[in-house]
Symmetry: C2
């Protein structure tokens, strides 16, 4: 019996699904304090990058670097934070957080620091309009 | 005039140099509370992974995954945290932190959480004896 990949309920709850890359789902973390995006490889039971096949690892890197460049160009950040942590949610996921020297956590990492401030629907639509056309262009 | 790669003074101060991979220097972060290792690509002025050439990116991934597997086998961790942050030290470096559900920060990320407890010389020699022969085997 085939088992289908399913997004972890915590990620489903905390994020908005934006797009599908060949390997990963692209999520927007629903915290308006940071441009914070997450790639989730659609591989069942993956928890660590090194456990993926070499081909999957390369594809993850490829999608991560495409996304990284797009985010830094779009949001004009001072620094990008890229991290695979997974202490709370074991399903392998790769954070991409655009950081500004003026943001409320700088220079500390953002995780677990501030109470979440969720986006309005309008703000989500705005971010989608900034990101999704560029991703479609890259993927086409 | 050629300019030579130099390790950032902060990394030099906070870490012990353990080994040289083809692309990266391998450092041990001098905080005995966590098995915490750092890869620093020997590329001048690199700050973000996506800015490396595709060949360098693949090599970084390769070295990171080799190291990740070796660390998880050696230290028998519950989870590995892999992160490129760089908010404090702009020189591109990739953290690899073996995490335990019993460690003093779990499940929070470790950065900036606890005052450093440096290793004794004996402890450093012990970690070198655990890691360096395995790396030499992989690289030979």
């Amino acid at each position: 019996m085939m088992t289908e990949f399913r997004l972890h309920p915590q990620l489903q709850n905390d994020c908005i699904e934006l797009a599908e890359f060949p390997l990963c789902k692209l999520l927007l973390s629903n915290d308006s304090q940071f441009p914070w995006f997450i790639l989730v490889p659609k591989i069942i039971d993956a928890t660590e990058i090194y456990q993926l096949t070499w081909q999957e690892q390369q594809q993850l890197l490829n999608e991560s670097s495409l996304l990284s460049e797009l985010l830094m160009q779009t949001f004009n950040g001072d620094k990008l934070n890229v991290a695979a942590l997974g202490n709370m949610v074991p399903q392998l996921h790769l954070h991409h957080v655009v950081r500004y020297k003026s943001d409320n956590c700088w220079p500390a990492p953002i995780w677990g620091k501030l109470p979440t401030i969720t986006y309005s629907n309008e703000e989500i639509e705005h971010i989608k309009s900034l990101i999704i056309p560029k991703i479609n262009e890259i993927l086409s």
